[in-house]
């Protein structure tokens, strides 16, 4: 039955009973997750479903834990389901498990999980990316056909790129955030990891739409996102972001240039476009996201839920000791930076300034979209790095989101689609960004690229060995 899990969800679901589909996933988790650690919780009671799915463990679920990979929520069980979970369950989804992440989705490698790193299925010594590293590794290793992650600055697209799978960040407001544990509410968006563009488009149709319980969710009509998958790219206009590709070198550059040739081969018009303010994206991001995080994470106070320090005797000690014991170093660092940026005397210089430059970024993107249907870059500036390589250098880690964070700051949809491999056999990825609510259009372009290249069919090393045995 392992072949079943190598098929896209849209093909596999018609070939097997819902009970057997879920059982096959649970067997695959049993076989591979010891080496990968993509899951924080495996739901042995998943039962049956036409859509076996893994959920990043910051999306709340009744009946099983939601830890956000943090000691402070180690024993937390949500009293309600996230809106996306309600919608998925109504459409026959079975939750196979909860996927690992950087604590509170803060990180780019899953190394910040309080419960251990997720390994890359293509090379176990390398990171799966983050923060949705568990979601991406679970799909890449064919343990589940679909996983949900979340994005604040690239946390679905970057791990999807590192694991050689498709990752979508929808338009801000396209998918309800109700039940997604908040990191930076003005940037957060639930995203989707799949093997193929079609699977991704079909899952988006299930989870998208307005939710009365999330005022920032959009009333914009939910589209038939798979409608244009076969239409090709003839005559469509792609802008290559000059400031992004200028700094590229070596194999990532060569891979990107090859991707451009694939698009041109389909009749697309591909030209350079300058977005001067994009060079400030990471700086803006780490002010805005951390400022929002410092406010959002104040809810973890040891009073209503989560860890309370045993040694706390006064109310202040409950706050300080519970947070001190329960939150990890990267989370504390970001709360500190955010608190600083909002504090008296620094607000204008940091938060105010970041919002002003963010407005400029939005303006520059809007101008670029007057000339182009899409903007493209590599998804990441490099192939997956080694576990531990950036662990002691927060800034170097932050810079791995340099091509993905702009879409979150601007609010536009963006997709990561596999674009091949470097000479070490590690996955590389093409990012396609579109206008607000143009998900249908970005699926069209991604499907063309995927159809021409077929990189999604390649099996990661952890499975290729098994495939070789089978042959």
């Amino acid at each position: 039955m392992s072949d079943l899990l190598e098929l896209p969800w849209s093909e596999a679901r018609g070939q097997v009973s819902p009970r057997e589909y879920v059982a096959a996933c649970l067997r695959a988790v049993e076989a591979h997750d010891g080496a990968l650690h993509a899951f924080l919780h495996v739901n042995q009671e998943a039962g049956e479903g036409t859509l076996p799915i893994a959920l990043k463990d910051n999306i709340v679920t009744t009946g099983m834990p939601t830890t956000c990979a943090s000691q402070i929520l180690r024993d937390f069980v949500s009293p309600f389901d996230a809106t996306v979970v309600t919608r998925l369950r109504a459409r026959g989804a079975a939750i196979v498990g909860k996927a690992n992440l950087d604590e509170f989705a803060m990180g780019s490698s899953t190394e910040n999980s309080a419960f251990g790193v997720t390994r890359n299925p293509w090379d176990l010594d390398r990171v799966a990316g983050g923060s949705s590293g568990g979601s991406a590794a679970a799909v890449a290793a064919r343990m589940v056909p679909v996983a949900l992650g979340s994005e604040t600055g690239g946390s679905v697209r970057q791990p999807a790129a590192f694991c050689g799978v498709v990752g979508l960040k929808p338009t801000y407001g396209r998918v309800s955030r109700r039940g997604l544990v908040a990191f930076a509410s003005g940037l957060d968006q639930i995203g989707i990891v799949t093997k193929t563009t079609r699977d991704c488009a079909e899952v988006l149709r299930i989870i998208a739409g307005h939710d009365p319980l999330d005022s920032t969710s959009s009333p914009e009509r939910v589209d038939d996102y798979a409608a244009d998958l076969a239409r090709g790219v003839q005559g469509l206009r792609f802008g290559v972001v000059t400031e992004a590709v200028e700094r590229l070198e070596g194999e990532v550059r060569a891979n990107f240039d090859a991707a451009v040739q694939v698009l041109r081969g389909g009749g697309a018009i591909v030209e350079r476009v300058s977005i001067p303010s994009i060079v400030y994206a990471i700086a803006i991001y780490y002010v805005v996201a951390n400022a929002e995080a410092s406010a959002n994470l104040s809810r973890f106070d040891g009073i209503r839920y989560g860890h309370r320090s045993e040694r706390a005797r006064t109310l202040d000690e409950v706050y300080f000791d519970s947070r001190g014991e329960g939150l990890g170093p990267e989370v504390k660092r970001r709360i500190m930076l955010g608190t600083f940026a909002l504090s008296s005397g620094y607000y204008d210089a940091y938060y105010g300034r970041a919002q002003a430059v963010r407005a400029k970024l939005r303006h520059d993107f809007a101008r670029a979209f007057e000339r182009f249907d899409y903007l493209i870059t590599p998804t990441t500036p490099e192939a997956p790095f080694r576990i531990g390589e950036k662990a002691d250098d927060p800034l170097a880690m932050y810079l791995s989101d340099i091509f993905t964070a702009p879409a979150n700051l601007v609010g536009i949809p963006a997709i990561a689609v596999p674009s091949g491999f470097d000479s070490a056999g590690l996955p590389l990825s093409l990012q396609i960004m579109g206008r607000h609510f143009a998900e249908r259009a970005i699926f069209r372009a991604a499907a063309f690229f995927e159809g021409e290249t077929q990189f999604w069919k390649a099996l990661p090393r952890i499975l290729a060995a098994r495939g070789a045995n089978r042959a």
């Binding site: 009744t62 024993d75 937390f76 069980v77 949500s78 009293p79 309600f80 009365p212 005022s215 920032t216 001067p276 303010s277 400030y280 990471i282 700086a283 780490y286 002010v287 410092s294 104040s298 106070d301 040891g302 009073i303 209503r304 839920y305 989560g306 860890h307 309370r308 706390a312 005797r313 006064t314 109310l315 000690e317 409950v318 706050y319 300080f320 000791d321 947070r323 001190g324 939150l327 504390k332 660092r333 709360i335 500190m336 930076l337 608190t339 600083f340 504090s343 940091y350 300034r353 970041a354 919002q355 002003a356 430059v357 407005a359 400029k360 939005r362 303006h363 927060p394 800034l395 932050y398």
Partner: protein
């Protein structure tokens, strides 16, 4: 932007986070490095764009609706008695 130990302590108190002196020094040095990177925002050319393109989030009507059941809420509470969260005495202690 240079953050010293005293500044890190001030921010930690605002954030309800506790560090020992070594932790504060490490945090101060990491914050300095990151804020120095962020300081490039000062050089950005932010021409007059008029008002920032603010979109106002529409608010739903403030109508009563069912709240969470108490049982699962109590289950998650670190300390719970008679339908209430228990906290250390706030007034008149020590």
């Amino acid at each position: 932007m240079n953050i010293d130990r005293d500044e890190a302590r001030r921010v930690a108190e605002l954030a309800h986070l506790e560090f020992d002196d070594a932790g504060l020094d490490r945090m101060a040095s990491e914050m300095t490095k990151i804020l120095t990177y962020i300081d490039q925002l000062r050089e950005a050319d932010v021409e007059a764009l008029g008002d920032h393109d603010v979109t106002v989030t529409p608010l739903r009507d403030d109508e009563p609706r069912p709240s969470l059941d108490r049982d699962p809420v109590a289950h998650n509470a670190p300390a719970w008695r008679d339908g209430l969260f228990v906290v250390p005495k706030v007034i008149g202690g020590e």
